[in-house]
């Protein structure tokens, strides 16, 4: 039986092209993030304050073993800032949108969930890049950190690539926790991760139990990449990359599980 064709239906598009959806979606996400007061102040200013407090200003004295204190502070704070963007701007926003039932409204539109999520990841990486550029600019101009062009690029690139496990962790927490409890839960996990990482408190000053665990914490591993990029050679890179890959796999499984659970609950 010949299919009946309504006039014009052969030329009329049935769905909007996906690539035409991504850019407006990213634009809207960037606008929303930019207009969130809790992003601008803590996201952009706090790293500068932390950098100053950690000794990134003043006389460029060296730590033990010829390590530049300024470069060390820069890499530490850069790591901290980029992880916080992934957990707060990305993870908390997912939880909040569940709480406001925004995900339900979006789900009823033809926008695929994958594009919605991709736009959020792209936005988080863009804002991380901006934060890194501001911080590096501050360290260069105010702190007087001297690095080769290659080191600057390596620092930014390794942080943007190495942040993958934290994107997955943010996504998992955002789908897992009760929306009202998202911020406190992320505060707590972020605090524990940061404390047990040796980024702000030197490893040697941590409790003995933590001293053995800390070198394997994902926070420390990412910091290690950043320190190496600015010439602070504390550990080797090879194992670090593999461990971060391992964490990515673990957090990916957690993220998939959390996403499926939320799907069953809200849209099953």
């Amino acid at each position: 039986m010949p299919a009946r064709v309504t006039p014009g239906s052969s030329t009329r598009r049935l769905v909007a092209p996906l690539r035409a959806m991504l850019w407006p979606q990213v634009q809207a996400e960037v606008l929303r993030l930019w207009r969130t007061p809790s992003f601008l102040v803590p996201g952009l200013l706090l790293p500068l304050v932390l950098y100053s407090l950690l000794g990134g200003l003043g006389k460029a004295n060296s730590l033990e073993g010829g390590i530049s204190r300024h470069a060390y502070a820069l890499a530490s704070v850069a790591t901290y800032s980029i992880i916080s963007v992934m957990l707060y701007s990305f993870g908390v926003s997912i939880a909040n949108e569940r709480g406001q039932r925004l995900n339900v409204l979006m789900r009823a539109t033809p926008l695929p969930a994958s594009i919605y999520l991709l736009a959020k990841v792209v936005t988080a990486l863009l804002s991380a890049l901006i934060i890194l550029l501001v911080l590096c600019g501050f360290a260069l101009i105010v702190g007087g950190v001297q690095l080769s062009a290659l080191s600057w690029v390596t620092l930014i690139a390794s942080l943007l690539l190495g942040v993958l496990p934290f994107i997955l962790l943010g996504f998992a927490i955002g789908n897992l926790v009760n929306p009202a409890g998202a911020t406190p839960i992320i505060n707590l996990s972020f605090f524990i991760l940061a404390f047990a990482s040796g980024v702000f408190v030197p490893l040697t000053q941590l409790p003995a139990a933590l001293q053995n665990i800390a070198p394997y914490s994902p926070f420390y591993l990412l910091a290690l990449l950043a320190w190496n990029a600015v010439g602070v050679h504390i550990g080797t890179i090879g194992n670090t990359v593999w461990l971060l890959v391992l964490y990515s796999v673990i957090f990916l499984s957690l993220a998939v599980w959390a996403y499926r659970r939320e799907e069953r609950y809200s849209f099953g």
Binding site: M1, R4, R12, R13, L14, V15, A16, A20, M21, P24, Q25, Q27, A28, L31, R32, R35, T36, E97, Q100, R101, L102, V104, L105, R107, A108, T109, P110, L111, P112, F267, G268
Partner: protein, 336 residues
């Protein structure tokens, strides 16, 4: 006895019957497939439970394109669940839901739908213009932005942040988001809840204009006036089942109740109505108002008593009264 009569009266009409209806007369020669292309929505023996709660039980109906259907029913009847299934926000536990012959989750189906949901969020820190532009990008053939703003009456609010809109304006924004993709079907879950009378009438006008373009509308409401004004067809849901499925006028006709109102020259004797088939009896001084399924019996009794009857009016039951009678008959049938 009466309960069984009411059950028989309920005009439950399955998908097949609508198909038959459509294929009759002018379209007799067409196949089921061809006809189903002109069906916007089909539910086939759909059940849905949440844990132990059965929100919908064995619901079947089909909605042809261009029809305006009101899903009516008390709270917890399953209206919102039905909308969620038709939009693909939920999956049926049993049975099948199709939108234009497709899975409701299919992007081709979603590109032809618009919806206003109850209590769905919207990004607060975007402007009206920004969020409408964003939603337009999801659809293959969106309406021009200016036209969307005009239809929703939001021209003056285009640059306002969504978070600063009033409740009524927010509702208009949801309407704008629902229509911006120029949908063929519009799903509205209690669209006028919380609107004042004027805003509601304005909204109804917009919906009528939308209907005149041959679009399909599915709305849930607990305002019977709204269903009566907007819908060609009412599907009455109660406890997850279809109790009645008919045009508003036909549904009202199914209900035999008539309202009688009159004035009496002197008070009627105590217990006068005790032996008569009346309900909702109200006596205020000389004014009496009541509902009865047996008009003639009551009138005969009234005119054979000595007091003079004036200003007698007999009106057909309102949809609300019809609705109450239909659902009450059902619970009586259940109770015994």
């Amino acid at each position: 006895m009466r309960a069984r009569a009411m059950t028989n009266l309920s005009l439950q009409r399955g998908a097949r019957e609508v198909l038959t209806m459509l294929t009759s007369a002018t379209h007799r020669a067409q196949t089921v497939e061809e006809v189903s292309q002109r069906l916007a929505i089909e539910l086939e023996d759909v059940s849905r439970s949440f844990g132990t709660v059965e929100a919908l039980r064995h619901v079947s109906f089909a909605i042809p394109q261009g029809q305006a259907v009101a899903l009516l029913g008390p709270n917890g009847a399953g209206k919102t669940t039905a909308i969620g299934l038709m939009l693909g926000l939920r999956r049926p536990s049993h049975g099948q839901v199709r939108l234009f012959g497709l899975d409701p989750r299919d992007r081709r189906a979603r590109s032809r739908c618009g919806c206003m949901l109850q209590e769905s969020g919207v990004p607060l820190n975007l402007t009206v213009r920004e969020i409408i532009s964003l939603f337009r990008s999801y659809y293959p053939h969106p309406l021009p932005l200016a036209q969307v703003l005009e239809i929703a009456g939001l021209q003056k609010k285009a640059m306002t942040h969504v978070g600063s809109l009033s409740g009524g304006q927010r509702q208009r924004l949801y309407f704008a988001l629902a229509i911006c993709g120029d949908p063929d079907v519009l799903f509205l879950d209690e669209p006028t809840t919380g609107l004042d009378v004027e805003a509601r009438r304005h909204f109804w006008e917009q919906l009528r204009a939308f209907r005149q373009q041959g679009k399909t509308i599915v709305l849930t409401t607990h305002y019977l006036e709204e269903a009566d004004t907007l819908a060609d067809r009412i599907i009455l849901l109660d406890h997850g089942r279809v109790r009645a499925d008919a045009p508003p006028a036909l549904l009202k006709a199914q209900v035999t109740n008539r309202r009688i109102a009159f004035e009496v020259s002197e008070p009627l004797p105590a217990g006068f109505f005790d032996q008569l088939p009346v309900s909702q009896l109200e006596i205020q001084g000389h004014r009496v108002s009541l509902l009865t399924p047996q008009l003639e019996t009551v009138l005969r009794a009234l005119f054979t008593q000595p007091a003079e009857i004036t200003n007698l009016t007999i009106t057909e039951a309102s949809l609300e009264e019809a609705f109450l009678q239909l659902t009450r008959a059902e619970s009586e049938a259940k109770g015994g």
